[in-house]
Symmetry: C2
């Protein structure tokens, strides 16, 4: 029951991109340096984030990656789900038909409550706010 | 970020054992039938539960498995941790030294909060209560 390394890295890179002034981009090697993520792995993660409409890849001499408006509004939950798919703590929460024991299983409501508690935190933690906190802690006092 | 099938099954079997009158036991094939878990997989799960001191295996003609006092007091968290080890949502929560970015990473406090929210639910859901709910729903009205 642990987040994948890809999601962890995706959150890092989204926070990094959200610290840039609006419309600015950062190259893949620069992003890799500032997030401590290997370039090849980061390229795959950025592909998922691009496909989810959170990040825009720009080619050319001053190419790189920038956040799209959807990325600016994204929460930690959105980023994880862009990389891993929907957060589902247990199979029985996937759909009504995922487990035939669902209706009589006393653990099912607990899983539902645990999932809601988890999503309540991750779904209300905007990347933009985390980036603002990072900028603040990095700025000289 | 999903619980393993082994943990899901472990919770099923713990609930089943907790529905038995105190001191009673159930054989492996009977447990497999009542939990819809394959016998060979269930045997491995029961080994983990025994090693964690939650369940007592008894050999012989009227052998089988019964809950130990620790198993009667166990929560869903205890059962999952008996099978998977400690619940750790992200590597940075494993120890102080697990991630060198921990102190400056704005996502770290969110992971900490998400983990606390998850554990608050799983750690306050006693197997004995779930078994009582199961018995109640199964009893004729």
């Amino acid at each position: 029951m642990r987040v994948t390394r890809a999601s962890d890295y995706a959150i890092r890179v989204m926070i990094q991109l959200a610290t840039l002034p609006k419309g600015e981009r950062q190259s893949l090697p620069a992003l890799a340096r500032s997030t401590d993520v290997p370039v090849s792995f980061l390229a795959k993660i950025l592909k998922s984030l691009s496909q989810a409409g959170l990040v825009l890849p720009r080619r050319g001499a001053i190419g790189g990656f920038e956040l799209l408006p959807k990325g600016h509004r994204a929460t930690m939950r959105d980023v994880i789900e862009a990389v891993e798919g929907p957060i589902i703590l247990n199979t029985c929460l996937a759909s009504r038909h995922a487990c035939h024991r669902r209706l009589c299983c006393p653990a099912h409501p607990v899983w539902k409550k645990a999932q809601a508690a988890l999503l309540a935190v991750l779904g209300t933690s905007p990347i933009a706010e985390l980036a603002a906190a990072q900028k603040e802690s990095a700025s000289p006092t």
